[in-house]
């Protein structure tokens, strides 16, 4: 889902970059207000988790590959605005160091994976989980469903960005200037990859990580209880 440079017109890149500026501004203002300094290392680990999980390419039946993105997990744990920052950091390093996702297309990739994905994931999770106990079946199911829907929404938005290119941007001889595939090709291709495979991976990864993270507080609580009882 990392759109490389050259697939989107400069105007598309500019427009999505312009949309991201107030989102980044709001995210940093939110973090400034709400973030507990003690959470910073854990949130940064969340960014690392997203970076790493995106390295696990999985094969898609149509011969392409896709991967999970981890955005929903970070949004569930730290809130969607923190996830905007964490995902943007991961995407920035991917683009700058590993040429995964374009430099010019950074705004577009951030819009899809650092804005659409965490926000959709967060609100789907909230609406399903209500106040489910961490580690409960309900919570894990909510995380899995949220992850599945969120990555598919991000993929859908990306496919629109790809697909509108040949509609609007063609050379004088009619050949496409940027992404050569229209909506009729881009939407099915992106959605097949994410509805059939990547969505499930994102769902499983989200639920597994929630389970992994839920174990620890419970055991901590248990040991505290034991200590107290020992004292008494």
């Amino acid at each position: 889902m990392h759109i490389p440079d050259g697939y989107l017109s400069p105007s598309t890149c500019l427009a999505l970059g312009a949309v991201m500026i107030p989102i980044w501004y709001r995210a940093s203002a939110k973090l400034k207000k709400d973030l507990d300094v003690k959470q910073v290392p854990l949130l940064s680990m969340g960014a690392v988790f997203c970076f790493l999980i995106m390295m696990f390419n999985v094969p898609i039946p149509n011969g392409t590959t896709a991967h999970a993105i981890g955005a929903t997990l970070v949004a569930i744990i730290f809130g969607p605005w923190a996830a905007v920052i964490a995902m943007s950091v991961a995407l920035a390093i991917q683009a700058l160091v590993f040429a995964d996702g374009g430099i010019l297309a950074f705004g577009a990739n951030a819009f899809n994976m650092a804005f659409i994905a965490p926000f959709v994931g967060y609100y789907v999770y909230k609406s399903i989980s209500k106040n489910a106990v961490p580690g409960s079946t309900r919570q894990l199911a909510a995380g899995a469903i949220a992850g599945y829907i969120a990555i598919n929404c991000a993929a859908f938005v990306a496919s629109i960005e790809f697909g509108i290119q040949p509609l609007f941007f063609t050379a004088a001889d009619g050949t496409p200037l940027y992404c050569p595939y229209g909506l009729d090709v881009a939407i099915p291709a992106m959605m097949v990859a994410h509805l059939t495979v990547a969505g499930f991976i994102e769902g499983i990864v989200t639920a597994a990580a929630l389970k992994f993270m839920a174990v620890q507080p419970v055991t901590m609580l248990q040991s505290q209880i034991n200590k107290k009882e020992g004292v008494v």
Partner: protein, 111 residues
């Protein structure tokens, strides 16, 4: 608690070469050469920006380790370590800047 999470991160890094098993490229992420093979041409606008930025370790590969699957796997792990360190560092730095703004506004309101 953090130690447990760091171990999970380390485990992800170690098994990261699993991500190399999938053949092919993600849809819409083909390079110019791949695209000209399927299309017969490279779109003009794409050609113009092709060389804007090539990255430092493109495709998470460390050049000198070669194309063997072992070399690629080791390269992928090194890329995962370098990338993780950079993401962690950049994230801490950004948060620090954001938190510093917090302190300055606090001290202003205290005056």
């Amino acid at each position: 608690m953090m130690k447990r999470y760091w171990l999970a991160i380390a485990a992800l890094i170690i098994v990261s070469p699993l991500g190399l098993l999938a053949d092919g490229t993600a849809w819409g992420e083909w390079g110019g050469d791949d695209l000209s093979e399927t299309l017969g041409y490279i779109p003009q606008g794409m050609k113009n920006v092709q060389d804007v930025w090539a990255g430092i370790f493109p495709d998470y590969s460390i050049g000198f380790l070669g194309e063997s699957s072992l070399g690629q796997s080791i390269g992928y792990i090194i890329a995962a370590i370098i990338g993780s360190a950079m993401v962690y560092g950049l994230s801490l730095l950004l948060m620090k800047i954001i938190a510093a703004k917090k302190n300055s506004t606090l001290s202003c309101s205290n005056k």
